[in-house]
Amino acid sequence: MAETGFGAPRLNVADLSVGSTMPERRCGPITQEHLIRYAGAMGDFNPFHYDAELVRSRGFKGIFAQGLLTAGILGQTLAAWAGQDLIRKFGVRFAEPVWLGDELVFSAEVTRTYTSEQGNARADLDCIVASGDGRHVLKGSATLGEAD
């Protein structure tokens, strides 16, 4: 499907089937610069993401990335593949911290296809963000399809 602008559909959801996958994307290593840039854009300066002494005093081994940074990269990757207009639902659960230096792998796979009450094709996906050492740092889900 031709792109007609930001967010426009880039695939036909009816063409997806169980097992269809989003092209895998690799990012990283995650650096303090990523966290600072994100904190500035968000206006959220939680010291857990820059104060090593504080995070260690709270039982963590070091500075870790904002959960929404990882979720956001996943969301933008999904949007770049499908077209943001097709994203009906998007959910994330933060399973493990993303430490400075982690490399991340973003993937998603169709687990169910169906038709909405209004007759629009729908595809449910499971999303995973894995670290280079094999930890699943984020588990997510998404539903793609035209709005009813």
């Binding site: 930001f6 840039r37 009906r88 639902k89 709005a147």
Partner: protein, 155 residues
């Protein structure tokens, strides 16, 4: 088990979805779309709001008169923000959000509950934010789950 403090009012205010903010967030989120990364002409591109960051966009509009529920709870000693972790987020989009939109948000504490885990008792707080157009069209609903680590759970 629901344990919603009855004294916490919902927050409600309107805010613009700004082109530059959308682009700034997209770049911070390593947007893979080169058009988003390199175009700086708002007359040519109309960036959509990155998927999971609608709340940060409106959070810049928070103030003393419309503080988000989590800030109000912190000021009232109902939660220790230094012990909060993000548990998860759930978005439902009824239509895309584009720069140039004006949205009204209503945000409230929807639910709290405790869970026993191997690390002790964790307190879960669920905040619901509902975004509508000024005309009342439902645009997006977001459920944010925060987890409060109780003292003694460290390490």
């Amino acid at each position: 088990m629901s344990d919603v403090p009855p004294t916490l009012d919902a927050v409600n205010f309107a805010f613009p979805v700004e082109w530059g903010k959308c682009r700034e967030l997209a770049l911070a989120l390593l947007d893979p779309d080169p058009a988003m990364a390199f175009s700086d002409d708002p007359g040519v591109v109309a960036p959509v709001l990155p998927v999971p960051v609608i709340q940060p966009v409106c959070s810049f509009r928070y103030g003393p008169e419309n503080a988000p529920p989590i800030v109000t709870m912190s000021k009232r000693g109902m939660v220790d923000r230094s012990r909060l972790l993000q548990g998860g987020l759930d978005f439902e989009f009824h239509r895309p959000i584009r720069s140039g939109d004006t949205l009204a948000v209503t945000e409230r504490l929807a639910n709290t509950y405790d869970k026993k885990t191997s690390k002790g008792v964790l307190r879960f707080l669920e905040f619901e934010a509902v975004f509508r157009t000024p005309e009342g069209e439902l645009v997006c609903t977001v459920i944010t789950t925060n987890i409060e680590r109780r003292p003694g759970d460290d390490g």
